[in-house]
Symmetry: C2
Subunit: 365 residues, 2 copies
Amino acid sequence: MASSKQIFIAIIGAGGVGKSFLSQLDALASRRPSPKLNLIYISTSKKALYDASYSPIPIAGAIEKLATVSQAPPALPQLADYLAAAPAKVVLVDNTSSQDVADAYPDFLGRGISVVTPNKKAFSGSYHLWKDIFAAAEKSGAKVYHESSVGAGLPVISTLKDLVDTGDHVTKIEGVFSGTMSFLFNSFAPTSGSGGKWSAEVAKAKELGYTEPDPRDDLNGLDVARKLTILARLAGLPIESPSSFPVQSLIPKELESCTSGGEFLQKLPEFDMQMEETKKAAEKQGKVVRFVGSIEVASKQVKVGLEQFDASHPIAALKGSDNIISFYTERYGSNPLIIQGAGAGGDVTAMGVTSDLIKVLGQIV
Amino acid sequence: MASSKQIFIAIIGAGGVGKSFLSQLDALASRRPSPKLNLIYISTSKKALYDASYSPIPIAGAIEKLATVSQAPPALPQLADYLAAAPAKVVLVDNTSSQDVADAYPDFLGRGISVVTPNKKAFSGSYHLWKDIFAAAEKSGAKVYHESSVGAGLPVISTLKDLVDTGDHVTKIEGVFSGTMSFLFNSFAPTSGSGGKWSAEVAKAKELGYTEPDPRDDLNGLDVARKLTILARLAGLPIESPSSFPVQSLIPKELESCTSGGEFLQKLPEFDMQMEETKKAAEKQGKVVRFVGSIEVASKQVKVGLEQFDASHPIAALKGSDNIISFYTERYGSNPLIIQGAGAGGDVTAMGVTSDLIKVLGQIV
């Protein structure tokens, strides 16, 4: 149905995911004439591009233009005022990993502003925030989608929602939820061959850009714990926070106090023996070691850490930095529904955000 | 948003999928008070339960009640008249595999009636019908969803649509698309051990209910060809019909003329040597043989038939009667996005239909 309807898009965040998303949004806007997608706000933590009359910002050059302005972003409550007063429906795209922005979702949603985001913080913070977010959306009719908060563009959240919404009973979710951890263990403990030293693999992963600037932010397991928190809540478990279940950290106690990622990497070789022993113990059983997360729904057990797997197990056979997520359910029986592929990277993360946006457009236009 | 909105549901088909769907619909209707889902029509090819005033039919006992009526179903044009005149929006759920019903989709859709269905015929018949269906939906704003037409409830169609809609370029799709073929080859040519005789595996699959009443309806490859046609079209290839690309049939020429599935099964052992040779040829290369479909998008090559795979390949490592579908795309690079799990069965097929219905409700209410 051709129509002159327009939707306003507001974007917070212009990093790797933000850039990929803008390029996908640009292509989407030119492919689909209706509804007209008008970018009316874009900001980083330092700068914001927008005006009082909601003038459309050309999507193609938005980031370059943002770099040239000197306007600071409004405080979040003022941003909510600005967007709520807009003369069209607004979708806010949060491409940050900011807790502050996440904390403001209930305000945005309650005022009719839909939210799409890869930001894990909103859905893996306090259970109170989780409830506030969905209650605000329910009340106003605004939509909130966050596919890329787990497994980037892989259809993980949507599949779990479909299982639950159609009345299946999820019994267990298990998988490798971190591209970094996947890469590290696929190299350190391959199913054939012997693999490198642990510290050398960590250094290589950092060099290739597979880790956070400080690798401890991957090795502490918190990123995986956040993803498990989201999935467990969607499966019906009222998980209080990512610290309310056991999470194994791969940072040696002695190195927790290093003042920098560089110092950590320098001292890590002293602890290679610990990981080597873990690997050998698995090999003695004919197995390999992997860093996995699992949710047992009936017993409400969520945990994150090292587990051993047969070489023929799909989790052991993973390649590169792929994620794998297995859903065990009543309907699917003994063989789980499995989703596998790249779970990190700007383009595939932005894909999840863009497909969420398309879903929201289908519902609010 | 609580509202008094109601949606009318009309169902054609009350077989295995139809029964599972009704039970999921019943649960859905009681879980979600809004919109109110009113079943106003249900039919088999012989009987129909409905009345002139669109009275709601209790969902729970609908199939039992349908069995007691003597009313014949209206012709499809009359059914379209009846549904188009309804005082609420209508979703038609086609749980048949009827070409006649599929041929009527453009009429239903053009008159504003949304369609959700696992029926492959509509989307894998003539390319003309495909175009008519989506043109009719586009024009009226009615929705058409068919997740379960490939891989049952596995998120295959939705994932491919998300990839395409967000601007990724699918380069290749490859997989095992038939639960029957999966079961047969996982048993006949396992990655470890020697497997049974071909004819014995076919007989066993039939006994376990994994084949059509006449196993030739699986072995001719047409079911897989239909699914490939659907995926290729969604990936942008204007495939004319499932017979416009090479499809390898596993029915020996001499047995094509058997007058029954029983006669076919009786004579099949005479041809075991052919399949045994195929298996041995693969084993000589250290590989196993599998019945797969593949789509090479750039070269527009679609084909269905036997291929050899390393034992460590995800297609070789499949279990039971699982399907596996790999999407190779520009964004996902060398490691494909993989979806795996049960691709047949009443409950998981109905799950795809129910989740489609939920998506349609989100858009038309």
